[in-house]
Symmetry: C2
Subunit: 211 residues, 2 copies
């Protein structure tokens, strides 16, 4: 049946992307072959090529799929906050969640792979930047916009406020992790303390001033 | 004479580091050989090995040397600002200078190389992080501290303020450049506008409140 056939194809597609993600993250881009991905996915090399024309295309799908997953989580969290009344505690929860999502081992490794290949595959980096990084920033800006219109924040320029929020929150831990690798990273408790104090400072600028 | 001998050796050392920097930036770490560096420096391969025991050590020196150069500039700019009276315009000048120094083509490429090899050579990334990134943050914190003690800023925690300043300023342009490569980057004018508006927001939080 057509429907059953399509479903099987979609499942294979997902299996291949999952196998490719694991292979690229452990072996890097150059260190990973289509053959290895096929073996890990439990399909033939021909099947991999039937779904993805070449390694760069498949890597592009891995990047897009990871960006989409991370964004879906961020969007659900920002949507929740937009509708909540507890701006102060809520913003801290959001900052902690963002920290956890973006400082995740897989995301950090994938980020490094994209950066490593940015000059060679600029289109791929552009796709991550637009569909991951910028979309996340837009979710945040939309959340700030809603909170501002509800009188819970003061952000004249929600896009700028979103970029400042991410930058204040992540500049130190993200750079440290990018440069020094995934081992010996800061503890979850340290990251949460940094998130909490950053939200306090953010609210000095963008919170509603008492009259 | 010993002194003359030392000077020649020091000059060769510098020649090799300069040649190595150019080679690594154009060919990447794996794509660069000690032989190629020797040829570019105009010395024998043995001379290169006499100065640097292996490729990783030489790459480490390239990283350290670039970090030191960038820091020396940042330190001279922050020192100047610490002693100046024009906190508002001065901070904008500083932000623009930082942007120009850190968004320089060579620095961006070197950053990508370090990040690409972070899991394989964590010590090297740690060295860049401590002697480049953290030292620059410390210069900035020391500048904020002095301006605060002179009544021109209000930074209860100058280290945190420095991390927020860098993060607000660079989160967007640095990530965009990291992910999408060195071509098609934002114009100098755009970067300067972002620097100016970020300083305005920074001063809402950390500026001296009018009474």
């Amino acid at each position: 049946m057509k429907t059953a056939g399509e479903t099987r194809s979609e499942r294979k597609n997902r299996d291949i992307i999952e196998a490719a993600t694991a292979s690229f993250l452990s072996g890097g881009y150059d260190g990973t072959s289509m053959e290895e991905i096929a073996t890990r996915a439990g399909v033939s090399k021909q099947t991999v090529y039937k779904h993805f024309s070449d390694k760069e295309t498949l890597f592009g799908e891995v990047v897009l799929s990871t960006a989409t997953q991370a964004n879906d989580i961020v969007e659900s969290v920002t949507t929740l906050l937009s509708e909540s009344n507890f701006i102060n505690g809520g913003l801290q929860q959001l900052a902690r969640r963002l920290m956890a999502i973006l400082m995740n081992d897989e995301i950090l490794k994938l980020r490094r792979l994209i950066i490593a290949n940015a000059d060679r595959m600029p289109q791929l980096g552009r796709s991550w930047y637009e569909k991951g990084f910028e979309r996340m920033m837009a979710s945040m800006a939309s959340c700030f916009q809603k909170l501002t219109s509800r009188g819970l924040l003061q952000t004249a320029d929600p896009d700028l406020a979103a970029s400042h929020f991410f930058g204040m929150l992540l500049w130190i831990p993200m750079n440290e992790a990018m440069f020094t690798g995934n081992s010996n990273r800061r503890s979850q408790a340290e990251l949460e303390r940094h998130a909490d104090v950053t939200v306090e400072v953010f609210l000095v600028t963008y919170g509603v001033r008492s009259k």
